[in-house]
């Protein structure tokens, strides 16, 4: 469907592959296609690319290469974390703490663990979606084995105080004399490559990252697992990735992931400043031009590329369809757009009423977003909202 204008503002859903990334991947399809477990030259050149990629990815979070395992996605990494840690540590305890604003892959993994006899505590969040480290302290028990908190929200962009949370978990483990300590996992699928993360400074034991949110290809993710962490695999087989993730390694995707990491590392500081400026312009413009519009998430402690609003008296899917007709790609947390016909659990967790979450809109910016794009949105969006409110009678 060719359109005169196409502006992609859904980078939080997925990013296009950077042309430099694609170029780096190409030799690994038909030329250097070997299986990393093979002893011959074909296998060894693939293995070499895999291990180089591991070093690159580890470096951006200040981990050791042997602490990184590659997976197919952030969803897989998060499933492995929750289920793998639960299975390996159930003799120590069966209590897991998560936030109420986790990505569905953490939320649903936790729900499943509940059916297997684990106890799940969901922490409270404030109206910005922030977790208070004191609440983590209160929720921890002697039987707690894992705390999993999303680093930056995929929906509202709020960035959690993971450094403080990491400290609290460490201290509480010491008080309870727990050895090993209670593990701290963070899902950094939206933040890795966009804002700095240092696993050592933050007492993080496990960290999830995704290739397709940072201009790498789909089909690659990783999990940082600190040395000495007890975790069991959920995929059994040939023993790839230190026995934690059997499956012939997707070398082209991983090479692409690593190239994407290299680029992000190089441009992160400048790009984050550029996007923050554009994002602030967008937020300021929307809030001032559209009556009864509200920002979801924290005004400052948020991802440089995330803007999320709710508009009174209208429904979000209709905004998304109208925007699409005018060439702008966005997303919503409205019940109408979800397969379960339920509004976003994240928006409800920050205290939005059903009808408020109903009118939500997420615009997420990225590497190819320009000021012109933002100006166009600011020109179009107020008209769309006005029209839809006329149709709704702003009920």
């Amino acid at each position: 469907m060719p359109k005169t204008k196409r502006i992609y503002l859904d980078y939080a859903a997925t990013t296009p592959v950077d042309p430099r990334v694609l170029k780096a991947m190409l030799p690994y399809f038909s030329e250097k296609f070997g299986n990393t477990m093979s002893l011959h030259g074909f296998g060894q050149e693939a293995k070499e690319a895999l291990e180089e990629s591991r070093e690159v990815v580890a470096d951006l979070m200040n981990a050791k290469p042997n602490e990184i395992i590659f997976t197919s996605s952030a969803t897989e990494s998060n499933n492995l974390t929750l289920k793998g840690v639960a299975l390996a540590n159930q003799k120590k305890g069966r209590h897991i703490i998560i936030s109420p604003i986790e990505h569905p892959c953490v939320k649903e993994s936790a729900e499943w663990l509940k059916t297997q006899g684990f106890e799940i505590t969901k922490l409270p969040v404030d109206k910005y979606g922030l977790i208070n480290p004191d609440d983590v302290k209160k929720a921890i028990r002697k039987e707690t084995i894992l705390v999993s908190i999303i680093h930056a929200s995929n929906e509202i962009g709020t960035i959690q105080p993971i450094e403080e949370i990491g400290k609290v978990i460490k201290r509480k483990s010491e008080i309870f004399n727990l050895k090993p300590k209670i593990y701290f996992h963070t899902d950094a699928a939206q933040s890795f490559g966009k804002i700095p993360i240092d696993v050592n400074k933050t007492n993080i034991d496990l960290l999830t990252a995704s290739s397709q949110k940072m201009y790498g290809p789909k089909g690659a993710g990783c999990l940082f697992i600190k040395e000495g962490i007890e975790i069991k695999p959920i995929l059994h087989g040939g023993g790839h990735e230190s026995g934690l993730r059997s499956s012939t390694v997707n070398v082209p995707a991983i090479v692409g992931f690593s190239e994407a990491v290299k680029i992000c590392k190089k441009v992160m500081k400048k790009e984050s400043q550029r996007l923050t400026k554009l994002r602030n312009k967008l937020i300021k413009g929307v809030l001032s031009k559209i009556p009864d519009s509200h920002l979801n998430g924290h005004p400052i402690k948020r991802l440089p590329n995330n803007a999320n609003f709710w508009f009174a008296g209208i429904e979000g899917e209709s905004i998304v369809i109208q925007l699409d007709l005018l060439g702008i790609a966005a997303s919503t947390g409205s019940a109408c757009s979800s397969a379960k016909l339920e509004p976003s659990h994240v928006l409800l967790a920050i205290g939005l009423k059903h009808q408020e979450a109903h009118g939500s809109l997420r615009l997420s910016l990225g590497r190819w977003t320009t000021e012109k794009d933002i100006n166009y949105v600011l020109k179009i969006l107020p008209k769309i909202i006005k029209k839809l409110r006329e149709i709704s009678g702003a009920q």
Partner: protein
Amino acid sequence: MKPYYSKKVINHFSNPKNFGEIKKADAVGKVGNPRCGDIMKLYLKIEKKGKKEIIKDIKFYTLGCAAAIATSDIVCDLVKGKTLKEALKISSKDVVKELGYLPPLKIHCSLLAEQGLKAAIEDYKKRKKK
């Protein structure tokens, strides 16, 4: 692959002809969709011709998704000029048929239009009794 919404749905959604309020309406129906939270308000102007009661004018307000707005608009087209008896026969299936196609997840939206119409006619009957 079919587009998510058909051209007809998109047309009725982007350019609805029947939205708005009828001042001094003879009947108003207000319904909500318990599944997704959409809301619809439907106004009727009824004209009596002998024994027949004809829908002279019909307008809606809908807070909802593209499917809810499109089905609201089309149900107005379908019943305008019809008698109340004829209008009551129109079901959500007719609405979907008229639109050609709705994504499976959106079929429930067409119920809103049917229920809105029925609620308005119900309101008319109630007012008449008074």
